[in-house]
């Protein structure tokens, strides 16, 4: 019997037959289409017109379609710093979260005493809304907050962690708060994915003398690829969207693109520029998602 097709890394690679073999053409599959139809209908009915309306809003002006909103968006003094902050935050935060989440999942898998309790506590930040998370970390980092209280009780000088002229400190506090809040998402997805990896493969590798890191890198991670891909896509898209924590901690001093979207929409009451900003966010998110889908494509799919 052929080995199960999921752990492709373990199966020897069989080149497709034929001199100029390409991946076999995927055909339309009626069963598949039937299964995904409800979701397509649902999303289109609900979001179809609002999306069109929202996208058109970005090009709306007093006299029909225009790109003036994009010009205004770019000329706003906060725009480029918000783009820079968002990109910097994502580039630094996502790898940290993935490494941490993976480490947490592997720790739990090693079944330490109290694993069940640990697992629950590590998943708790999921339950916390980003407004509440911003509030908690604000009271930790604010001038008369918990961190400075701790420093003061040790006799040290309190530090102004959220000062508007201390960029590294602001960045660090937002980073810490976001890592706390959102790593659980990746953690839970990785745990769910690890569940279906049979331990036989790793044990076999271990019997043949593979070290822990070898096993991790060559057996576990490739088997985890679908979960990691999903977690990466979801986490990145959601990372582009969140700003409530940064807003609570730093106000306008650490602008992020979606925070700017909200500010243009509710504060400045200009839905057109807000839509322009939203389109920028969406475009970047989509490009990243496409990138992830292509880079982490499971090789077994090509052979079906």
């Amino acid at each position: 019997m052929a080995a199960p097709d999921a752990p492709a890394a373990a199966r020897p690679h069989v080149p497709p037959a034929g001199p100029k073999a390409r991946a076999p053409r995927r055909k339309g599959n009626p069963a598949a289409l039937l299964l995904i139809a409800p979701s397509i209908v649902f999303m289109t009915l609900l979001f179809g017109w609002p999306m069109v309306s929202g996208i058109l809003q970005a090009f709306g002006g007093p006299e029909g379609l225009t790109t003036a909103n994009f010009t205004r968006m770019v000329q706003d003094p906060y725009f480029w710093s918000s783009v820079g902050n968002t990109l910097l935050l994502i580039v630094v935060m996502i790898p940290i979260q993935f490494v941490l989440a993976l480490a947490m999942a592997l720790l739990i898998r090693a079944k330490p005493r109290g694993a069940s309790a640990y697992f629950y506590i590590w998943a708790i930040p999921l339950a916390v809304s980003d407004l509440a998370a911003g509030l908690v970390w604000l009271t930790v980092f604010t001038d008369r907050g918990y961190l400075n209280s701790l420093l003061a009780s040790w006799g040290l000088q309190p530090v102004s962690w959220l000062a508007y002229d201390n960029y590294p400190s602001m960045f660090a506090t937002v980073l810490i708060a976001e890592v706390w809040r959102a790593t659980s998402l990746v953690f839970v997805i990785v745990v769910a994915g690890l569940q279906s990896i049979p331990k036989d493969y790793e044990e076999a590798a271990g019997v043949f003398g593979a070290s822990f890191w070898n096993r991790l890198w060559h057996v576990t991670l490739p088997l985890l690829r679908p979960s990691l891909q999903t977690a990466l896509i979801l986490r990145t898209i959601l990372a582009f969207q969140t700003f409530a924590v940064a807003l609570a901690l730093t106000g306008q001093n650490f602008p992020l693109v979606v925070g700017e979207t909200y500010r243009w929409y509710t504060g400045l009451q200009d839905p057109n520029v807000a839509s322009a900003l939203a389109l920028v966010v969406m475009a970047v998110s989509m490009v990243t998602a496409v990138g992830y889908l292509k880079l982490l494509r499971d090789q077994t799919e090509a052979a079906r």
Partner: protein
Amino acid sequence: MSVTAHHDVSRRALLKGGLTVLAAGPVLAACGVNTSGSGGKGSVSFLSTQFAPVEERQKYEATLKKFAGDISVAYNPVDTGVFNTTLKSQLAAGKVEVGIAGGLHGDLAPFASQLEDLSSLMNDLSSAGYSKDVAELAKLGTDVPRYIPWIQATYVLAINKKALQWLPSGADVNKLTYDQYLAWAKAAKDASGRPVFGLPAGPKGLHHRFYQGFLLPSFTGGQITTFRNQDAVNAWTYMRDLWANTNPASTNYDFMQEPLANGEVLVAWDHVARLINAVKDKPDDWQMVPAPSGPKGRGYLLIVGGMAVPKGSPEKDKAFELIKALSKPEAQIETLKSNSFFPVVKTDIGGDLPGGVALEAKAVKAQQEASDALLALPPVGLGDKDPQVSQLFKNCFQEICLNNSDVKATLDRQGAELAKIMDSLNVPCWAPDPKMSPCKVA
């Protein structure tokens, strides 16, 4: 076994499941529980941007119940963004469910022409004695009253008595000048080792009102026309000096009552309703005084809130009745006592106010009746450009005080933006600018 037969079964089962869920929809629609207190048929839905915090809401709902008689009111305080979206979408869809829209002048301004003409109601309320300025504001730049004045408030200084020891000699704390205020801030900072003066410069803080209604009128005598003249340069240079002696955490303060209460800041300027929680527990520790005066007078800003009726609203008659009931002097004084917003109708406030509110009432009266008082109004007739004009003042603060840019260059830049907006709007000036139509930046 035919494979298609099995597919049919599974398809049928899926279809059945889907239809059940869809049929459950209308049932679910009836399942919700009302969350606005009273509500349901025959009640007036009062959507408002005021009195959202937990305690304030409870107190105002008690006030409403007391004075609404047998009209049942569903009071819904929401965030400004939700207020806008709700009104905009309901008006656009032609299915208005909001009975009364209550908000500050700036909240209602974008909806001016979509609010009912309330001239008849205004006539009924002619005995209320609204001041001329307030009645003019109620027109929102159109020819007819669009809202009935509901509440008013202004901004004062709150002083922790501990800070009085550093007051410069010869200064009367009830009649400060801006120079004395700056000297005081410096002395306090030197003595305490850190700045103890504060300003609500957070994202939702009202510091733009300080520049619009207090600083600039006191230094330049105007708000719009004098935006970039030499007096304005002096004003902002002063502001930069003041900022150097102000607690930098102010960029995170939306409401000053918290920093004042926990001692981060000892002296602060803010809206009366955002100061009350700091003083009401121990009024004897605090003093509240009018804002300082500058070369051109003691500029102060008056904020008015109004009750409007969106066009197409249900229960219009009941809404009108409720508005009349809330305009009675007793209701207005009750609002003052419970929520510290001042009456807009001509009435004697009386002396039995709770401690913190009494402090505020004294300061407000002193500010209004000061010999050099200079009334400034919030922008009139700017419609949905109102928030962008406010943002220009905030930008000046950001660039001059936080980024240390050149004052004249910043004012020219922001002034050009302001001029563009004012030119596109073509509206007359409002206090304290001189009467000029259309209003232009010099």
